[in-house]
């Protein structure tokens, strides 16, 4: 009897094991097929094709050249080599054969047609077939071709990123000459350079007003380094601050009403805030035996970065815009200067010049995450960075070579836009269309 019970129990156990084995088979098994996950992360450039219009005249070439430069330096795009294109551009006209563009690896294609009156642009995303995703027509009367193409490229950048583009913006800088230095300004791509300062003295450290209508700079035209404000197009400047000693390194507040500046009227160089209209001193922000200079107002107006050697060599400090306790933020190496804030909303990123060995390079530091990005390395001596209006690019001066533009994320190679020995680079605000 006992044996019979044991046998019964054993049988139950065996059945239970078998049943659970059957249950363990994966649900939904329809016969042994395989699906493999291919999971990627977003990154890398967006391949875009910019074919030259078939008529290939001077206007077409200029449009292609400006478009190609703009989207190349914009940051997120990889402009494809026209030699690789397979499509018959004459047959396509303003449309596209999507498969032909997919075959060369393009995700986007821009077509245009220029007439005497207007230029039509069409942006195609090859995944959507031959229906344009974005199209615009620009009247040519009173507007040069370059400006029109810059405006179109800004639209393309905004379509893809939601951000405003910086094409059509300007860069101010100090150009060195024999026994003098002049304040100059040019299109961000190096075209149309012109003189802003109107004297043959030493003029340094230009700073665009937030509106883009004025440029502040320090000039020795009256022997003392005084602060002047001139119209952005050049012309007679207004003497704004003529304190005894230094009046240098102007940085505008975001609303354009105030200027942070270095004055040495009380002994050693300190940071002050003055009225932009008349130069009257509003407040003194630093009181230290050390040298405090190169103020940079943050985009939201709440903080000011500056350079101080209070802890030894020159380092970057940040303090409240109303003054108060300053905190050192740069710790790499023993020489860090010329801070500038990224305009990217919600981010506290500063780019500055750092000395590495015998050379100077540009780095960008996220003050919150402490992540540092190297913008230049082993490519000459690079100084005085300035962010583009959307924060995606950085302009800087390379000693003896000129002005370069690099991606603010540190990728890619810097592009030269101006070939004269320069210092004091400052990128102006976004263009008002």
């Amino acid at each position: 009897m006992a044996m019979l019970q044991i046998q019964r129990i054993s049988g139950v156990i065996v059945v239970a094991i078998f049943a659970s084995a059957v249950q363990a088979q994966p649900a939904g098994d329809k016969g042994g097929g395989t699906v493999i996950d291919v999971a990627g992360t977003k990154g890398g450039k967006y391949p875009i094709a910019l074919p030259t219009a078939p008529d290939n005249d001077t206007t077409a070439k200029e449009i292609s050249q400006v478009e190609s430069f703009d989207l190349n330096v914009a940051g997120p795009f990889k402009v494809l080599d026209p030699q690789s294109f397979l499509a018959d551009l004459k047959t396509e006209g303003l449309g596209i054969d999507a498969q032909k563009w997919k075959d060369v690896g393009a995700y986007g294609v821009i077509k245009y047609k220029a007439s005497a009156d207007a230029i039509d642009f069409k942006l195609y995303e090859v995944s959507k077939g031959n229906k344009p995703s974005l199209e615009k027509t620009y009247k040519r009367a009173g507007t040069d071709t370059r400006t029109i193409v810059h405006r179109w490229c800004n639209e393309v950048v905004k379509y893809y990123t939601g951000e405003a583009g910086f094409f059509g913006s300007k860069i101010a800088f100090t150009a060195k000459g024999k026994g003098q230095s002049a304040i100059m300004a040019m299109d961000f791509d190096g075209h149309g350079a012109y003189k802003v300062s109107n004297n043959s003295s030493t003029n340094i450290l230009p700073a665009w007003s937030p509106s883009g209508g004025q440029i502040a700079y320090t000039s020795f035209m009256r022997s003392n380094p005084d602060l002047y404000i001139a119209p952005a197009g050049g012309g007679r400047p207004k003497q704004v601050s003529k304190q005894r000693g230094m009046n240098t390194g102007a940085s505008w507040s975001p609303d354009g009403s105030k200027i942070a500046v270095t004055l040495s009227k009380d002994g050693n160089p300190e940071i002050y805030v003055i009225n932009a209209s008349d130069g009257s001193v509003i407040s003194r922000l630093t009181k230290d035996k050390a040298i405090d200079t190169s103020p940079a107002w943050s985009p939201n107006g709440s903080e000011i970065a500056f350079v101080s050697d209070r802890n030894g060599g020159p380092q970057i400090f940040v303090m409240p815009a109303s003054g108060g306790s300053a905190k050192q933020v740069s710790f790499n190496g023993n020489y860090n200067t010329t801070p500038t804030w990224s305009p990217k909303a919600g981010k506290r990123i500063i780019a500055y010049t750092t000395r590495d060995g015998g050379n100077y390079d540009i780095v960008a530091l996220d003050l919150d995450s402490k992540a540092m990005t190297r913008i230049t390395q082993s490519e000459g001596s690079n100084e005085e960075p300035s962010f583009s209006p959307n924060g995606r690019a950085i302009a800087f001066s390379r000693s003896g070579q000129g002005i370069f533009i690099a991606n603010a994320d540190g990728t890619g190679k810097a592009v030269k836009v101006y070939s004269v020995s320069t210092t004091g680079v400052d990128w102006g605000p976004a263009p008002k269309d």
Partner: protein, 235 residues
Amino acid sequence: MSLKDTEMHVVSVAGAGILSALLIVPVVWFSNAAVATRPSIDNRQVLEATIAYKKSPTKQPQKVHDTPEVVKPVGVSHDETKKVEEKKDDKKKDQPKIDPKDPFKGLRRPDEEAGKPTTKPEGDFNGSEKGFAPTSTGDPFFGRLRADMNFTFPEIAKAQSIPIGCIHLQADGRIKAFTFDPPIGKKGDDDLQTAAEAALTELKKARNSNPEAVPSHLLEITKQWLCFKFSVSAG
């Protein structure tokens, strides 16, 4: 005066005895004295002492070899005029002729089963079957397939669906064709579809120029479409 022999013997014996006593008694006396002054053995500690010296290298035992036989050359002629014999061809044994179409002809076992020969080791491809079973990503073969796609997705490109691309993979590793199923999610007219198409194009190109045969334990995947689900996350 002369002594008699007997007397001489007595004198010599006596003399030997006296001489012996003179020799033995001091020895015994001094030995006993030494023993008396020696400490008791019970108070002594036994020490072992060894002396180390350089061991002379010992030779391993050697194998005894038989002395090789001296082979005397046979037929060496010292006759300069003797002609050299021509080399005789090796006699080849008669080898059975092998039928390339049936190499086992004549060698079959009497109990061999007469089944149809297998022409396709992987079985026929069933184009109506697609793999929708749970994901199998562990095998290195699949990892290499993924790698050969060079799947990339630009930062600013748009992904609104999950494309599903399927390949017909042959046993020799070549890809005969690929196709796309309707994507998961929104209609697949976004950049992820473009990226997925580019990835499978790249995979087909790579594998057809440099195929990697499907491992035997995975040959089942050649009987139906092998599918890939493409997705991206923010970097």
